[in-house]
Amino acid sequence: MITGTLFTTWLKGEFVGKDQYGNRYFQERKQPKPGRRRKRWVLYNGKIEASKIPPEWHAWLHYTTAEPIKVDEKKPWMKEHLPNLSGTVNAYVPSGDDRRGGKRDKGTGDYEAWTPGS
């Protein structure tokens, strides 16, 4: 339940930005006491899933950068962020899995069994 977080956001939060998944990022409105830093948090769009946070916002959330990294500064070699797909139909399936034909490469301990015909 995020009722508490929503209340805190209404009471103290200052909207900072929004990412491509619709997650909204907040920080404390007031300047903190000396020796402390402004708290930063996220309100997820839909399911609470930490891997949905793209790297530019991840850096800001963890105080690696003072300001969120601007998305339009993206370099051509940067890949699109991909949240964890485990449990979904798009989850990764290794090539030896039954769902992908069940044929895997030879591995340690594979042996050839004798059959009467051979």
């Binding site: 301990g109 594979d110 042996y111 050839e112 069994a113 004798w114 051979s118």
Partner: protein, 691 residues
């Protein structure tokens, strides 16, 4: 005895000891590359430099300098450290920095010692030298650019293996270790150069790029490919045996193993029996253990004991033979035999089938007679021991049988039993050599004992041993050289025909005639299936070899790396093999199969654990309680005293192909390649345009 001080520790050592050996005695380790305790001293790597006083003001090579009274040795003084750092820098000048792709990585002497004596950066900016790789056969891969010219491999080939095929050409920077011609190294011990090589110049070819040493589980075990019982370390990763290395045991194999021991393990992954089979309508069909046991029970139900027989093969362990013997006794059968080649020895007299002088005892012998054996193939590591004794000097060796190259000089006395009879009668000049010797040795091979006149040969050898004084209080010079790892264990546990029982020959004959209805082949693969007539054959083993093809029921057992088992080597040394990986699929440890079947047959064996079974073995024969010990056997009269006939045919050798002697090595692809290279003589390097 000279007294000297090493790093402040005073020590008194034998004269003639080198500084490095003396340091080892007080626990000070001096780094080295070329020095090896079982090879001659070369003194060419210069890594073992130490400061010696009194003496010239320069470091001395400790491996080659004998100790002198009043010497003061400093192994870690600034002078020694500076000298070693200099040596290391020179060694690394021409050594490639390819540790990440080198198979020696993680177990490399140069890598380890560079951590202690290497500089952090190189001052060398010039081009490194490159050396063409040499061809040493299918077992040894070479990367000669990595060679640091320690010459260990050259000395091993020359001294231990007895094949002077390796050498060095050129000098200084142009020195190359080479075998001069592009031909395989003609030795059964060639794999040992891989262990000796302190760098990655010589590596294990079949194991290349398969694993790193730190990934491997090390299990100390015993070899079963010959009857020497070499001590081995089985390196496995998960469910696969990756490689086999020797373990040091000065009484058995020193630190060598044969190529078959080392490389045949890839056979453990092929042709495996991983589930029970039962023959239905003339065809073998996969079955469950329950179905297999029920098929056996149905056949044995009401069958009298004299129609049942069991033959144990060369790879059978003692535990399973003990259990099978108890089961056969329960079924009322005494027709059991562990000698599938029909070898004639006297099971009642332990001395008649042991290598009584012991392997280490070879070094004390001063005359040796080999009868009908080729130790180079039947016990390659033991042959290296005979050669070691030969190189010490003063050993006269006579050979009766086929005149084979044993890597040392022998007097070929004759080919058949007639010569042996002449020796017994004292008519041959070599009899005087044996008589004159203090510790004469007579080695009788399986080839001489598996003949029809085997008992006469045994008796003749025993008479000769008595006549030349080979058996005294502290020396027994009568030796039988076995070829099968399970043989002595089987004889010790009493897996031999009991009262009214048949031996192997009679079992096969009986099966062909129909007198024997059930034959249990326990790891026995050397019995031709068609000779067993219409008998119901139960095969227990781990490979689909000759035995499995003829079987009516197949019980999948475990290979030697897959069970905790006891083996007895040819000298009667009881040794334990340990489980390194689990048997594949449905296969089980062998004694448990027999124990489970006994319950189905209603003859439940009185043991549930391995410990209980071993207690039972020890109760039956005390030697099984004395692990890794030699229990001297009582000397008695055995064999047939009838003189050997003068026109008996010559002794044949039991092994036709060293590289394929059992079901595991026959399934091995590497052994097949070795057969092609060494036996069929295709020992020249393939050029790429061949075939």
């Amino acid at each position: 005895m000279p007294k000297l001080t090493i790093d402040g520790i005073e020590v008194e050592v034998e004269p003639g000891t080198t500084i490095l050996q003396a340091a080892e005695q007080v626990g000070v380790e001096i780094p080295r590359f070329c020095y090896h305790e079982r090879l001659s001293i070369a003194g060419n790597c210069r890594m073992c430099l130490v400061e010696v006083q009194p003496g010239p003001p320069k470091p001395a090579a400790s491996c080659a300098m004998p100790v002198a009274d009043g010497m003061t040795v400093k192994t870690n003084s600034p002078m020694a450290m500076k000298a070693r750092k200099g040596v290391m820098e020179f060694l690394l000048i021409n050594h490639p920095l390819d540790c990440p792709i080198c198979d020696q990585g993680g177990e490399c002497d140069l890598q380890d010692q560079a951590m202690a004596y290497g500089a952090d950066t190189s001052r060398y900016a010039e081009a490194k030298r490159a050396v063409k790789d040499k061809y040493l056969g299918p077992l040894v891969a070479t990367q000669m650019t990595r060679c640091i010219h320690c010459t260990r491999c050259i000395r091993f080939a020359q001294e231990v293996a007895g094949v002077p095929e390796l050498g060095a050409t050129g000098r200084g920077e142009h020195m190359e270790v080479t075998n001069y011609v592009e031909k395989a190294l003609h030795s059964e011990l060639s794999g040992n150069v891989v262990d000796l090589c302190p760098v990655g110049a010589l590596t294990n070819k079949p194991y290349a790029f398969n694993a790193r040493p730190w990934e491997l589980k090390k299990t100390e075990s015993v070899d079963v490919f010959d009857a020497v019982g070499s001590n081995i370390r089985v390196d496995s990763r998960g469910p696969q045996v990756m490689r086999v290395l020797p373990r040091v045991n000065d009484d058995v194999n020193e630190e060598w193993i044969s190529d078959k021991t080392r490389q045949a393990v890839d056979g453990l992954l092929r042709q495996r029996l991983d589930r029970p089979y039962v023959r239905k309508d003339g065809k073998l069909k996969p079955a469950t253990w329950k179905e297999a046991f029920e098929a056996i029970a149905a056949k044995l139900n009401g069958l009298s004991g004299d129609k049942i027989a069991a033959i144990a093969g060369d790879l059978a362990d003692v535990e399973s033979m003990a259990a099978l013997k108890d089961l056969m006794t329960g079924l009322g059968s005494t027709s059991i035999d562990c000698r599938q080649d029909g070898m004639k020895v006297d099971p009642a007299v332990r001395a008649s089938y042991l290598f009584n002088s012991t392997v280490a005892g070879i070094e004390e012998a001063d005359a040796l007679l080999i009868v009908g054996a080729n130790p180079r193939w039947e016990a390659a590591v033991m042959n290296a021991r005979i050669r070691k004794r030969y190189l010490m000097g003063g050993l006269k060796i006579g050979l009766i049988g086929q005149n084979v190259d044993l890597t040392y000089k022998v007097d070929h006395l004759g080919t058949g039993p007639a010569t042996l009879q002449e020796l017994v009668d004292g008519k041959h000049s070599f009899a005087e050599v044996l008589k004159g010797a203090k510790r004469p040795m007579i080695i009788v091979g399986t080839g001489a004992l598996m003949r029809d006149d085997g008992f006469q040969v045994l008796g003749a050898a025993r008479k000769l041993a008595d006549a030349v004084g080979a058996v005294t209080e502290d020396w027994n010079g009568f030796n039988v050289l076995h070829t099968a790892a399970g043989r002595v264990g089987g004889l010790d546990v009493g897996f031999v025909p009991g009262e009214g029982g048949r031996d192997t020959h009679a079992i096969v004959e009986g099966a062909a005639k129909g007198d024997i209805e059930v034959v249990w082949l326990h790891h026995a693969d050397e019995i031709a299936g068609e000779r067993l007539g219409k008998a119901f054959v139960i095969y227990q083993g781990h490979h689909g070899d000759r035995g499995a093809h003829r079987a009516d029921v197949i019980l999948p057992g475990a290979a030697y790396t897959e069970k905790n088992a006891t083996w007895v080597n040819t000298e009667g040394r009881v040794q334990r093999g340990r489980l390194a990986v689990f048997p594949p699929g449905e296969a089980r440890e062998d004694w448990t199969i027999i124990r489970a079947l006994s319950e189905v047959l209603g003859k439940t064996l009185p043991y549930n654990t391995l410990a209980q079974l071993r207690d039972r073995m020890t109760a039956a024969n005390g030697v099984f309680g004395r692990i890794d010990e030699i229990v001297p056997a009582e000397w008695a009269t055995f064999g047939d005293d009838t003189p050997l006939s003068a026109d008996a045919k010559a002794f044949a050798l039991p092994i036709e192909n060293f590289y394929m002697t059992d079901s595991i090595s026959r399934a091995s692809l590497i052994m097949a390649e070795c057969t092609d290279v060494y036996i069929n003589g295709n020992d020249e390097k393939k050029t790429g345009t061949d075939d």
